[in-house]
Amino acid sequence: MKKNSMKADKFCYIQSSNESQNLCFNLQEGESLQLTFIVLGDVKVNNHIIINLDGENAACSLRGLWLINGDADVNFDVKMNHHVANCTSDQLFKGIANDRAKSNFFGLINVSTDAQKSDARQQCHNLLLSDDARAYAKPQLEIYADDVICTHGATVGRLNDDELFYMRSRGISLDEAKKIQLKVFAAAPLDFVTKDTASHLEDWINAISL
């Protein structure tokens, strides 16, 4: 496990080989951290991420996007620990899986007794493009303080036929309409990445065969 400590920082991990990330960050008072994980292709990845919010007013944002295919097997295990009061954490993970690719998202939010006024949010949404693709999302909350905001949500869906028909009725071809849906779906977790990375991902989506 790597240990890091910083004032305000931002990292982006692009994972397009079978290399996993084991990360642990301890945030002190007033520190902030933004992490983005992008997982691409037919890869086997096991990411373990532990965030300890150890000082008041620390803030952590986690973003994840996986665009996976073939026999990809992607696992995220996230532990967000609110140890003290007045910290915020927000997590947004989105996955698009084709072929036989599968993803597992396990996200624990732990808010200790002393961590009043914690604001902890977590979302994990998945889009499956084939019958054999799989996505599991398991949020887990352990809340021991009473004055907190804690939200979570997880969905697994498919391309939306009504949207597709609406776009096609305006002359947008089926292939293009699907890609528009994918790009729209994938946009939200990319709020911290560079323009270059975002346009690289757009190329990646354009190349997906549907």
């Binding site: 009504d162 096609r168 009725s169 729209v184």
Partner: protein, 249 residues
């Protein structure tokens, strides 16, 4: 322009359209009325090529070509436009990006270059003004958070952008207040010219005050049971559909 012959269509195991015959010539406006559940929207969706329904027999000839095997986008490229009864919202996709993708695919089909950003913006501005929509709607996500009236105006905006040969407008007037009705009504009527045609699905006379139809058809249980001139709308407004249904049965 359009000739529908003995059209039968089903959704799942349920037959919804049971032998529709309809002929629309360039320059004409046809109104289709009928009680809820008659099959009006299903007919509209069949014309636009929705794939969750199955045409079991009959034909749809559009400008001399059988279009039954064509995809929705191919029908759009040929000039068919469907104004949805329930316009779909697409979170995350701006109205402008949506129309840009549509316009440029139409142009590509015609062997034209994509529109320049400037000409596209000019066109959007002009057509938004046409339906009295604030230009801020172009950067908003398609139909997301739009009121009923704004959604229907957005349909007419898209129609103005695409300039179709045949517009099928499914209850473009339902849920509209007086102002929105005026905007939709005058909008559609201004877009009408001798080379195009419209099929207007409605429950009310009030839209037909703006868009005066050449024919009114009454659809009931998947069949057209009566065809008459524009005066029929007034009679339906006063007397409902029962007398027509009784006449038929």
């Amino acid at each position: 322009m359009l000739k529908i012959t003995n059209l039968h269509a089903k959704i799942g195991d349920k037959e919804i359209l049971k032998g529709i015959n309809l002929c629309v010539k360039a320059g004409e406006i046809h109104a289709i009325m009928g009680p809820n559940g008659a099959g009006k929207s299903t007919l509209a969706a069949t014309l636009a090529g929705r794939d969750n329904l199955e045409v079991t027999s009959g034909s749809i000839i559009f400008q001399g070509e059988d279009i039954l095997s064509l995809s929705p986008e191919e029908r759009s490229w040929k000039g068919i436009f469907l104004g949805f009864q329930y316009p779909v919202d697409i979170p995350g996709l701006s109205n402008a990006a949506f129309m840009k993708a549509a316009i440029n695919e139409h142009r590509q089909q015609q062997g034209l270059e994509p529109l320049s950003a400037a000409s596209f913006l000019k066109m959007v501005k002009e057509k938004m003004a046409f339906v009295e929509m604030d230009s801020s709607f172009s950067s908003r996500a398609v139909n997301v958070g739009f009121s009923g009236g704004e959604k229907k105006r957005n349909e007419v905006f898209q129609m103005a952008m695409l300039d179709p040969r045949l517009a099928i407008l499914d209850e473009s007037d339902s849920g509209l207040d007086v102002d929105a009705l005026r905007i939709v009504g005058t909008g559609v009527s201004k877009l009408h010219h001798p080379d195009n045609a419209a099929i207007v699905i409605t429950h009310y006379q009030r839209l037909l005050d703006y868009i005066v139809p050449d024919f009114i058809h009454v659809l009931y249980k998947g069949r057209i049971i009566k065809t008459a001139g524009k005066e029929l709308a007034m009679e339906i407004e006063e007397r409902g559909y029962d007398w027509i249904i009784n006449e038929e049965e």
